[in-house]
Point group: C2
Amino acid sequence: MEMNSKYHKYPSRRKDFTQLQRPISHRISEHLSQSAKVIPLGGLNEVGKNMMVFEYDRDIVIIDMGLQFPDMNMPGVDYIIPDTSYLDDKKNRIRGIIITHGHLDHIGGIPYLIERLGFPPIFTAKLTAGFIKKQLEEFGLSRRVRVNIFDPDKAILRFGRMEAKFFRVNHSIPDAVGVLLKTPAGNMVHTGDFKFDETPARDQRPADLQKIAAIGAEGITALFSESTNALEKGKTMSETQIGANLEPIIANAKGRMIIASFSSLIGRIQQILDMAVKFKKKVFLSGRSMHDSVEIAHSLGYLNYPSHLVKDISSLAGTPDKDVIIMTTGSQGEEFSSLTRIADKEHQHVKIKHGDTVLISASPIIGNERAISNVINKLAKLGANIIYDRIMDVHTSGHGCQEDLKMMIDLIKPKYLIPIHGEYFMRQAHKNLGLEMGMKDENIILIENGDILEINNGRVHKSNARINLREVLIDGYGVGDVGAQILFERNQMAENGVVIVLITINKKTRKLIADPEIISRGFVLFKTSEELIESLKKEAASAYKTITKKRGDIKRGEIKHYIASQLTKITDKSLDRTPLIVPVIVEV
Amino acid sequence: MEMNSKYHKYPSRRKDFTQLQRPISHRISEHLSQSAKVIPLGGLNEVGKNMMVFEYDRDIVIIDMGLQFPDMNMPGVDYIIPDTSYLDDKKNRIRGIIITHGHLDHIGGIPYLIERLGFPPIFTAKLTAGFIKKQLEEFGLSRRVRVNIFDPDKAILRFGRMEAKFFRVNHSIPDAVGVLLKTPAGNMVHTGDFKFDETPARDQRPADLQKIAAIGAEGITALFSESTNALEKGKTMSETQIGANLEPIIANAKGRMIIASFSSLIGRIQQILDMAVKFKKKVFLSGRSMHDSVEIAHSLGYLNYPSHLVKDISSLAGTPDKDVIIMTTGSQGEEFSSLTRIADKEHQHVKIKHGDTVLISASPIIGNERAISNVINKLAKLGANIIYDRIMDVHTSGHGCQEDLKMMIDLIKPKYLIPIHGEYFMRQAHKNLGLEMGMKDENIILIENGDILEINNGRVHKSNARINLREVLIDGYGVGDVGAQILFERNQMAENGVVIVLITINKKTRKLIADPEIISRGFVLFKTSEELIESLKKEAASAYKTITKKRGDIKRGEIKHYIASQLTKITDKSLDRTPLIVPVIVEV
């Protein structure tokens, strides 16, 4: 347990932080208010893009700033980030951003949003800071953002008239913390993502139950507690139980072991590295995030191993199969991940052969099931033996199940419970747990992104006002330039293709001077559909004549709209398809 | 158990069938062979489009003819059906099609394929025939296809030199059968989809274990057994256990019950109807397939209820909430299903209100998890209480788990086991069960669609030859007109949109006579991307000049390709996006 002592080495940085805080320009507000406000900008209608705004008087503290992965209805979209336009005129009131842990749904929004927010300082624990700094480096923002590290056991931070303390929780990444935010209007606790693990891997200590209990004893008005696993009965399985399950698999592997897991699941990686030492195997890393994550955790002392143990996958050749463990990304079947490339026979260094064991030490995030099954299928066909969560317990969640959630409520004993993080039905299930524990219905409040919670003299209520939020989509380098209209067009073209109708007219007479041309993509094969194409051409000509004969002053947009609607009738009738029809009028 | 006796009412139709068989034109083959061949045309690389060809000498029997639902990589595609081109020159040898049960992955290919196969006769059990006939009606094919009904308990059918007998199994639809196919080269058993349920709902009797054992005792060379649940431990839960779990929910519902399930799960529907009678409620049907299915099963005696009990959803108004059970389609979150319309507030007759209980009596098929979660979320937000498989056991599978599969192997005691139905990793898991039971590795054969199995003097082996199969895609009314190129274009447009580049040139000089125009869909918002559009226009002009200057005789295709590649460089660099670029050259 050598890792445990490291926390005590860090002095409290309280003083430093006080200096780091930005000057508070308006200490006396025009509208001094006794009530605190809490506004979720993300994380309440989805799993992902967690971001909550806490306001008291002129002071604003933000907890987390994550991104979300899009679902199938958003083709081409890479990420979704929170809409922070509410904060546009409040930049100088933001005292700081607290980050609870280093997962992308809590830190991934930072590089996209921090400039727009006026570069407020970030406060977080050490490993989380490591992950944030890596991100900022990639975006060329390192020098412009202050990332301040606190010791969660000791730190007390002041953000204007609010004060923050922290408590260690367990999660599927080390250094996850919960936050106590004290305001004159009431004390609030934000759990971050958490579970309780009395026997974590050696990357973590058990959650600090005594401190959580003490914080509860201070009197908590509102507990904002995460809900991801609120539908799962029992208590989340311990990380070291997973280690115990994996050990015989690794010990007995006669061929290569290929293990896919989350790159930030340092406890899992630590246990596998320890087994590699025990059974005299070598570990080869594959996949960029696996490299980054191991390097960050290793350099900061969260991952411990003899330096010769871990190598890059490029030096795989020459090691006997029985001594090989490959740690790879791709446990969610992600398109370009290392495991998917292995399954597609496109990995530069790893070709599957009989005797290989592929261990997927993860479970699917909702929506990834199909992609994972495809990868498993391909690997199985190539001759690998596949072990994954449907076969045995090779993964445990980082999120607390029902007993963990109830334990948190019991430790904090809040007046109000606000279930956060997760889709509505998960938060509703969390509410039911609170009801089972005897809380009153009106004291458990379900809120949505953009809702405004008011905390006033120990009472909490949802305001009638709310903030309208849009989804900010990231596609390649574009932030927010893809919206509903673009997605509508993409989905229509995905389903039915596009048909371009080229109409050439005389500039003066406005009469057709050639037959319309039809060009299509993703619609039908041209050579087998000549008849259909001919009828589309004829209809385009006739539609143009009809609509321009009616009125001389008709607008281009109207002409195009009419032609498209006429051609849609034909494709719908003959093929039951409605491609996106794009009439193009060329004047000569 | 009044349903049980109905089977005995049907006389054996053996005589009729003999007459129904088509004349066998070539009794003496040029290439008389002692070996039988089995060729799967579908169902072996996927869950869906099950279809297997059994050949002996000049005789061919087909078992099942299903369709498959496409996955996310096939936008716009409705279904995938088996490629039957192998049979094109063998039409007159097809003696019949045996259908094991009435699910779409076993019957859905019939309307699309039966004509191409020369309308061979279909042989199946009574309810399955009902579902097939309904399908044929919708396609206007009723009069052209002979659907012959057999009694699985008694029928013995001859197909040239092959003979078929049947045995009842349990499944999530009544009248599911397995098939014994006797050939001089060896006896084969095809299980269809099955589980063993000693206490099924009253739509079914338990599988006929004595007959299966007797068939096994005849000596079986090859057992083709389904693999869908080969990864699930234990024995599949009984249908009546689900009924017992649902009863208190329905009994105690104070508001409306909205129950989504599979429309063909007659046993589930029967149990719910029985509870409706018991608790004095009315049942309202919503969704076309629910109506069709209930009507077919009711008219054929597989579903029994007092006639006043069941009504259409349009007559919902006026019934007190506590007396309402709505049976609906949409348990998989399907886009236009009744439950999805309810969740989207678009259902004409059902608006969710507080007090409603939505029971999803189904479990997700791989790939549908995200869609189902979305529906659950929306329903929960509207105030419904949602009960589904993650909360309690409200569904059981129609497929046998590991203990069922082992029991089948043990009853049949085949020389060879050929795991069928399901993705590779499921069939591999099935193989592992056979190995655990002591079968030899070489006696369990994993095959793919298009492989040729040869059965010869009691020995089975996979031929080195195989049949190349393509995927036949159905999009609207088009069968097979959407192929790889179209899907590639659709996927590219879905991810990145389309950019149309209009280049107008002088017919004689071939010089540009206007600036190129750019029209895009699904790419970027025009008004916020003027700069990019301008640079695309400039590059299009310059690319046209460059490529035509090089060679005077350059082909149109080459010009377009060059322009597209140059513009892709710009979009890739500036936005990290690669839209489908369609240059259009207009000659004036």
